[in-house]
Amino acid sequence: MNINELIWGAVGFLLTVMILSYLIGDNFFFRLAVHVFIGLTGGYLAVLIINQILIPQLMTPLITGSWPEKAWFIVPVLMITLLLLSQIPRFKTIGNIPLAYLLGLTAALAIGGAVFGTLIPQSRAVIAAFDPGRWAVDPENSWFSILDASIMLIGTVSTLSYFHFGRKRNPKNDQEVAPPPMIFKTLSKIGQIFIGITLGAVFAGLFSTSLVALIDRIVFIGQFVAQFFGGG
C-alpha cells in the first residue's frame, strides 16, 4: 500500500464510519460527513457543467464554429441571458420566459413519452396476451398463458378501479353523493391486493440494493484494515 492509497483509504474509512455512526442517532460526525458529501457534490457538479456542457457545447462552437452553427446558439444564449437578468429584481419577470419554455417542453415530453411509450404499448401488451395465436406457440403451457393474461387483466382493471375518483361529491360535507357500485367496491378491494404485492416487490428490491451497498462498505473496511495491519 503506497502513501496515496493509504491517505484516500483512510479518508474513505473515516467517512464510512462517520456515516454508520447514525446507528446511534444523529450526531456531529454524521452531519460532518453529510456536509462534506453535499459540498463535494455541489463543487463537482459546477465543474462538470462548465467542463462538459458550457465550454464544449456552447463556448467552443460559438468561437470556432461557422455562422450557421453560431446561429443555432441564438436561442440558448438568449435564454441564458434572460435567466441571468432575472436575478436582478427590476428584471425579475423576464426570467419567466425561459422557465415557461422549459416547463412547457418538459410537460410535453413527459406526456408524449407516457402516452406513446407506456400507456399505448402496455395496453397493447395486455390485449395481445389474449391473442390465441400466442397460446398456440407453446401448446403445453397454453393454460398457463391464459391464466397469466387473466391475472394481468384483472390486475390492471382492479388497480384502475381503486384509483377511480370520478364520482360526484357533495360540496357541503365533501361526502360522495351516492355510494359506489358494488362492482367498483369489489374491484377496488382486489386492486389493493395487487398494489400491495407491487409495493412489496419494490420494497424487497430496495432492501436488496441497500444490503449490497452495505456489503460493499463492509468489504472496503475489511480490505483496508487487512492491508493496514497485515500488509495484504
Binding site: 456542457i53 450557421p68 443555432w72 411509450g117 428490491g205 430496495l206 432492501f207 444490503l211 463492509i218
Partner: protein, 569 residues
Amino acid sequence: MTKLICPECSAENDSSAEHCCECGASLTLENLIESSKGEETDGDALNRVSTAETDLPGLLHALKQDGDVTDEHDGSEPSPADDASLPDSEDKEEDRMLPDWLNRIRQRASEEADSAGEIIQKLSAAQENLAKEKRESHHEDFASWIQNVRDEASSSPSENQPIDESEPEVNLKKPVETPEWLNKIRKISGSAHDDLKKESSSYDLGGDSLLQWLMDLEDGKETPEEIPKPSLDDMDYEYEGGEESTPSEHEFDGGVTQEMRIVKKVVPGLIVTREEQAQADQLEATIVDEGASRPLRKPGKRTSSWVMRLFFALLLIGSVSFALFVGDPPQLQERALKDQNQDLLTWASEISPSESLLLIFDYQAGYAQEIMLIATPVLESLVNKEIKITILSSAVTGKLLAQRLLSALEMDETAIFDDLGYFPAATYGAYGLANRDQGTWPLVDLPEPAQKLQAKGFDGILILSDSDESARSWVEQLSALTPETPINLLLTAQAGPLLLPYWESGQVTGMISGISEAAAIEAAGGKETSLPSRWRAHQTGIVMLMIVMLIGAFFVVERTPSDEGRKAS
C-alpha cells in the same frame, strides 16, 4: 362684606342690589353668568386654577393644556428626547416580556406584506397611534407632573411655607392678559378672594393648598384618583375632533366660576373587514395553539429505541461480515436463467464487431458495486468484439463511474470508445437522441456534439441505471421514436420490478436486475469472481432482516404519534 361688581362698568354694588348703582345694568345671577361666559377665553386660566382643586383629573388636564406650564419648568421637565424615549422604553420592556415566537411573528409581519402581516401591521399602526397619543399627552402622566411640581417647589425659597392662592398665577404665566376688570376686582375686593379661598379650602379635603396636597400625595398620605388613560376600548368612541370643554356653572358666595369638564381624546376607530377579522381570528388561534402545552415523549423510550437499533444493526453487520470473511467462497448453484436475462445475453452474443453500441450511465456512486457485479459479464463479452462503443452519462458522477467500470474490465486495447459527455436531464437527452432524424424540418449544420447524437447510428443501446424513473424516461422516448433499435437494461434490484413490464411488452429486448440474477448468470458462465462471497453475505443479510422485521412486528419498540392516534381512535 361681599360686594358685587358690575360687569358693565365695574362699579361696586351691594350684594343685595339687583341693578348697578352707576349704569343701571342688571346684576341678577343669569346676567352675571352670561357676562362671565363672554369673558371665558380671557379668564380661562384663572377658572381652571380656581376650580381645579375640586377636581383633580380636571386640574391635571387643565394644566396639561396650558403649554406655558412646561415652559416655566425647563429644568425639571423631561426633554423631548426623553418624551420620545418614554414610550419606546415601555415598548422595549413589553417586547422583552413577549415570547420569542410572537416577536418573530411581529418582525415577519413588519417585513412581509402577506395577509396575516397586514393585520399585524394595522394593529401595529393602531399601537403606534396610541403611543403617539401618549407622547403628545405624556403630561397627563401623573408621576411626571408630580415631579414637575416637586422640582418647582424645591426651587422655591418658600418651600415649607403655606403657599398663597395667587402663587399659581405667578408661576403659571398665562398666555393671555388678565382682563382689566378682574385686576380691579382683585385690588378692591381682596376680602372676597379670601372668602373664596376659605370656601375652596373647605371644599378641598386634601390640605391647606393644592401644592401641599400634592406633596402629601407624593409622600403617600393621600390616594390619588386614577386618571383615565386611552385604551383600545376608546377606539369605539365617536371621534369628536380633539378635546372640547362643556361648561357647567358653580356659584361661590356671589362669585361665579365655571367647571371645566375635559372630554377624553378619542382615537380614530380601526375599521376591520370581515375577511381581516377572520384572518385575525385565525392568527390568534395559531398563536394560542403555539402556546398550548403538548405532551412530551418520555426519554426512556427513546433510549431503549436507540439501544435496540444499535443492537440489531451490529447484529446485521456482524452476521454479514462473518459470511463475507469467514470460510471459503461458496460454489454458486447453477439454475435456470430468467427469460429477460437470457434475451439480453443472446443479444450480446449476436452483436457483430462492425456494429456500434451506445452505453448510457445513469446511476449514482452508491450503487456502483451492484451495477458492476451485474454489468461485468455482459460488458466483457461486448468490448472484446471490437465494436464501437459510445458513452453518454445522465448522472452527475456517471462519467467517473464509467471510467471506473470500464477500467475494471478485462478487455483488449482495440476497444473503441467515444464519450458524448454529460446530459443533465434524461428526458431531454432521450428525446434528442431518438428524435434527431424524425423531425419535420431537416436540421442542417448542427454543432459537432449534436451531430454525434444520432440514435439511428447505433445498433444497440444498453442502459445502466439505478432508478426506475430515469430508465423509464429513456425507454419511453427511445421505444416510441426508434422502435427498431434494441434497448437493453442493466438495473439495480430496486428498479427492476417496475421496468419488467417494458420487457414483457416488447419495448425492451432484455434486462438483468439485482445481484441474484447476476449470481445466476455467473453460475451459468462459470467464471470465478468475488460475487459468490457477496452473494452469501447478501442471503445472510436478507435472513437477518426478515428476522428483525418479524421481531419488530411482534414487539413494537417505539410507538409513533400516528400509532397513538390510531390506538385512540
